[in-house]
């Protein structure tokens, strides 16, 4: 029944999916945290930028963003991300697009975490002479992150599945291999099930592990 799988690099394709997910996750965590910091900062310009960024980017379909990185940034503006061959260029463009998109959701999750920290703590921190970056770094963010592990796990699972959109600009990940196999084998349902199971294998452990972690690190108030 499964002999049609022969000749396809299923693991290799899922490995690219994992790479896309991990690199984009790290990138969007950093960029998303910076955005959250901007949104709660005392500088109006930064607050404005943070708010505008989140509201614009999270309301654009991911496909549009990913296709734009290729057609707009690469083809029209010539941004090749320091690479020469299409495989590397597309991979990096996809990572860029995924970071830009996912960071908006990370930002909102982190900001909701910041709101869980009692105002009194911030006031106390300011009273002993800490400036804004210090308050954020030493007092607010450590507690905020501990309370948003759960929501961030949601974002990570969504990101894992969103990497399939990278097939639209030809990144050789799982969804691209799926299209090749459907084209060749005329086994639509069976192939779809195999790839669905593959994604569950990636996301289910992520959800369970991070779910346990979130219980363990949660701030008891």
């Amino acid at each position: 029944m499964f002999d049609f799988l022969e000749g396809y690099d299923l693991l290799g394709a899922f490995w690219v999916t994992v790479q896309l997910t991990v690199i984009s996750a790290i990138g969007s965590l950093i960029w998303g945290t910076l955005l959250a910091a901007m949104r709660v900062s005392p500088v109006p310009l930064m607050r404005g930028f943070g708010t505008a960024y989140v509201n614009v980017v999270r309301n654009i379909p991911l496909t549009v963003i990913i296709v734009f990185t290729s057609l707009g940034l690469f083809q029209t503006l010539g941004v090749s991300m320091g690479a020469k061959d299409f495989t590397t260029i597309n991979f990096r463009l996809a990572v860029l697009g995924l970071i830009a998109y996912t960071a908006a959701f990370v930002c909102e999750a982190v900001r909701s975490g910041i709101n869980t920290v009692p105002v009194g703590q911030v006031e106390a921190a300011r009273a002993i002479g800490l400036d804004f970056p210090q308050v954020l770094r030493l007092i607010v963010l450590p507690q905020a992150f501990r309370s948003v592990v759960g929501p961030l796990a949601n974002v990570l699972i969504a990101l894992t599945k969103n990497t399939t959109v990278a097939a639209a600009i030809g990144v050789g990940e799982a969804a691209l291999l799926m299209r090749e196999m459907i084209e060749n084998e005329a086994q639509l349902i069976l192939i779809s099930v195999i790839f669905a199971v593959g994604f569950i294998c990636l996301t289910l452990p992520t959800g369970l592990l991070l779910g346990r972690l979130s219980k363990k690190v949660a701030v008891k108030r």
Binding site: F4, V67, S70, L71, F74, Q75, T76, D85, F86, T87, N90, A167, A168, I169, G170, L176, L177, M178, R179, E180, I182, E183, N184, E185, A186, Q187, L188
Partner: protein, 281 residues
């Protein structure tokens, strides 16, 4: 929202739901059972997005070679052009649509191969196409298939043509895969991509479009053989009737006319009409 409004919205939603169900029910009756006989309608699957083969125009009519062939065949089966219901048959959906009986037959650049022939029956072939490349009209650096090796090629994600390039034709070439041909054409126009590759019939259709006239040319390489067949349900008696219709279409010259009309402007040198049941490997 006050409770009264809420009830109203609920009633409206329920009505909409009921309506959509009943509409869906009608669609099934009209579309599925029409394998000739007492029902006058016939449902045909085509591509909606391939100029020259099957294209839905903005005013809701359909043009292309596949459309002309389907119209002729339907006429021979006893259905007027007005009785044809066109349905979009995307590449990945074609086998399922036939097996479920959503369409009576499919003419949608449907290449005959063994895997597909296990699931559905093919009438024809009605056109022998080849994988080819479309290059900029002023580009003289690509004259033979081996020239492609250090070039930048583009095709549709997961398509047979894309896989063919990776494994056989030009493994050294860089391949860009996009969701559709139009993205490739943008790249070809502004020089990021050197050649767009897929079946020559599809390429000719694009090159013949008004906005691209004179900008692109076909390479004329025969990189593969694609035998376009008409897909019907496994074991359907339509196969024999369609084959007869196709033979008649070639014999009375309508086939030649349809080729000229749809591919002519691109300088496409078509193969002679294929013999029914003869598949060129």
């Amino acid at each position: 929202m006050n409770p009264r409004k809420l009830t109203k919205a609920g009633v409206a939603a329920a009505a909409a739901l009921a309506l959509s169900f009943s509409v869906a029910g009608c669609g099934d009756d009209g579309g599925g059972g029409g394998t000739g006989g007492d029902n006058e309608k016939i449902t045909v699957g085509i591509k909606f997005d391939q100029p020259g083969l099957g294209l839905k125009t903005p005013d809701g009519t359909y043009t292309g070679f596949d459309v002309d062939v389907a119209t002729y065949v339907a006429k021979e089966l006893g259905h007027d052009p007005g009785d044809i219901e066109w349905k979009e048959a995307k590449s990945a959906d074609r086998e399922t649509m036939l097996q479920r009986g959503d369409v009576d037959f499919i003419t949608a650049s449907y290449s005959i191969n063994d895997e597909r022939a296990e699931k559905v029956d093919f009438a024809g072939p009605y056109l022998l196409a080849h994988q080819d490349v479309l290059i900029r009209a002023d580009d003289n650096s690509i004259t033979k298939p081996s020239d492609l090796n250090n070039k930048k090629l583009c095709s549709v994600t997961g398509s047979t043509s894309a896989q063919n390039i990776k494994t056989k034709v030009a493994p050294e070439a860089q391949l860009q895969e996009y969701g559709g041909y139009s993205e490739c054409l943008t790249g070809l126009e502004n020089g990021v991509i050197d050649a767009l590759t897929t079946d020559d019939s599809i390429l000719a259709g694009y090159a013949a479009q008004e906005e691209f006239k004179g900008k692109f040319k076909l390479g004329g390489f025969k990189l593969s053989n694609e035998n376009y067949g008409i897909g019907v349900q496994k074991g359907s008696e339509l196969k024999a009737q369609i084959n007869t219709a196709l033979e008649k279409m070639v014999a009375d010259g309508s086939w030649e006319q349809a080729v000229k009309k749809n591919f002519g402007p691109a300088g496409y040198k078509n193969e002679p009409p294929p013999k029914i049941g003869e598949i060129v490997r």
